[in-house]
Every structure is written in C-alpha cells, then in structure tokens.
C-alpha cells in the first residue's frame, strides 16, 4: 500500500484523514512526502548552532500536534510551510547574540566576492556564486531574526511580499518597511567592512 501511494503520488486528503485517526503508516508517508519541502525551508533559515535534522523533527512534531487545526482552506503544503517558517523564526529568535562580521572572518573566496561586489559593477564571477551565497547568508546573520527572514525570502528566494505575508502572517507594510531598513543596514555593513580592509 505504501509503495502504491508513493508511486501514484500521495493522496493528501486521504492521508490526512488517516493521520487524524492515528494511522502511523499514513503519518510515515506524510513525513516522507513533506521532508524535501521542510528541509528546503530549514536550510534557508537555519540558525547557526542548531542541527537541521533537529529543527526538521521539531517542525514535524508541531505539524502532527496541530494537524487537527488544519481546515483545508489552503493546500496542506502551504500550511506546513508556514509552520516550518514560524518554527525557524522562533529558533532564530532564541539565538541570543548576532555575530559582528569582519573581513578577517571571511575566507579567501568570500573576501574576493566582497571586493568584486564593491569595486566592480558586474558583481562576482560565475565561479564565485557559491561563495557569494555563503557570504550573503553570513551578512544576513547580522540582522535581527525578523529582518533576516524577510530579506532572505525576498532577495534570495525571490518571493513576493504577498508570499512572505502568507508564510509569516506579518503585515505587508511591515514587511516592506523592514526590508527597506534591513537593506540600509547591510549597505552600512558593506561600507564598514571595506573600511576595515583599507585600514
């Protein structure tokens, strides 16, 4: 039966009904089906000192604990995404301190990316894209959890404000204002780091 479900694609409504009736096989299928989605969100917003598997397990725990509250108004994957984003946000909030990023903290590739971004108009080379992604995440870590989450979704995942609003439940104008201010903070951070480099 499990294999049939996997081959034919999971019938979400039927599976949820069985999970509500405490069917463990259905719960197992649900975890297997949603794992890639949950991990994608976890990896995008993972706090520094938390293991991604632990966070994913927490998300699945919350999903099962509140599954009776799912009304079916939105696709179940959207509902789980929202649970995942909120869990990541809470984990980010529990981080007491945010690191101050200095040039000395960057590896060679990241330092090259930074110099290319600041000094040339075209930005980093294609070969430096991975380093650019790492540097972008490091810079986002300096922001407050809310700003980090918003900017990560808007600028790295290219989500619209409406999507961010749907996933977080925050007001659209709050999202826009926070994104604007966060970008200013990052701009200042770029300037600060380049100043350190000159010294």
């Amino acid at each position: 039966m499990q294999q049939e479900m996997a081959e034919a694609g999971l019938d979400m409504a039927a599976c949820l009904e069985r999970v509500r009736q405490r069917d463990e096989e259905a719960a197992r299928s649900l975890v297997r089906e949603l794992y890639p989605l949950v991990m994608k969100i976890v990896r995008s917003h993972l706090p520094r000192r938390i293991d991604e598997e632990d966070l994913a397990q927490t998300i699945f725990g919350k999903m099962f604990a509140h599954i009776d509250q799912y009304s079916g108004a939105v696709p179940f994957e959207h509902w789980v995404s929202r649970v995942a984003v909120n869990t990541c946000f809470n984990a980010l909030r529990s981080e007491r301190c945010r690191p101050e990023l200095r040039m000395a903290d960057l590896n060679e590739e990241e330092a090259d990316v930074l110099e290319n971004v600041v000094s040339t108009d075209k930005g980093p080379d294609p070969a430096e894209q991975l380093a650019a992604r790492d540097l972008a995440h490091k810079m986002l870590e300096m922001l407050s959890p809310k700003d980090r989450l918003i900017l990560s979704m808007l600028d790295l995942e290219e989500r619209s404000v409406a999507e961010v609003r749907q996933l977080t439940g925050w007001n659209a104008s709050v999202i826009k204002v926070r994104a604007f201010r966060a970008r200013i903070k990052l701009r200042k951070q770029f300037a600060r780091m380049m100043k350190q480099e000159e010294i």
Binding site: P36, R43, G61, P124, Q129, L130, A132, M139, D155, F190
Partner: protein, 95 residues
C-alpha cells in the same frame, strides 16, 4: 545610480547552483513518529489526571458530608468505660 552592493551580492547568490534535494536520513521518520507518539501520550495523560482529580474531590466531599451528618452523634456520644472508671476513682478519693 550605482547598483546596490547587497542587490549585486544577492543576485550572485541566487545564481549559485541549487543544493541537491535533501535525502531523508536513516531513522528520521521513526524518530518523527516516536515524537508524535510521545506527544499523543502527553495529550492523553491529562484525561487520566482529570479523572483522578475528580475522584479525589468526590471522596473529600463524601468525607466532609459524612462528618457533618454525624456531627451531632459524635458530640452526644456517651463517655467511654475508661472515662467513667477514672471519674469514679477521682470521686472516691475526694475528701
């Protein structure tokens, strides 16, 4: 206007190849289900706790009610044999 540094960095970061899809580690679903089972157990525990609490309250009420109902008889009960003997000894020893 010079393009923003963050925008350029974010654009480059977006071009980075996507990470390979996450493979579920061995035993993950078992752990997730164990967690679910444990939470269910926690949720079921309060019903037992409520039942026990109810039983405790009921028994306390029954005890209080029986004391109230028997209060008069407890007050008016005849003194015991020891008390009568003690009283008789005391009377005989009086001058």
């Amino acid at each position: 206007m010079k393009p923003d540094n963050w925008n350029r960095l974010a654009a480059a970061a977006r071009q980075a190849p996507a990470e390979p899809p996450a493979e579920m580690p061995f035993g993950f679903e078992t752990r997730a289900l164990a967690d679910w089972r444990a939470r269910r157990g926690d949720n079921e525990a309060p019903s037992w706790t409520l039942l026990l609490r109810g039983a405790l309250i009921c028994s306390a009420l029954i005890m209080a009610l029986s004391v109230v109902m028997n209060y008069r008889s407890l007050q008016e009960r005849e003194p015991g044999a020891d008390a009568i003997t003690d009283s008789a000894i005391q009377m005989s020893m009086l001058p």
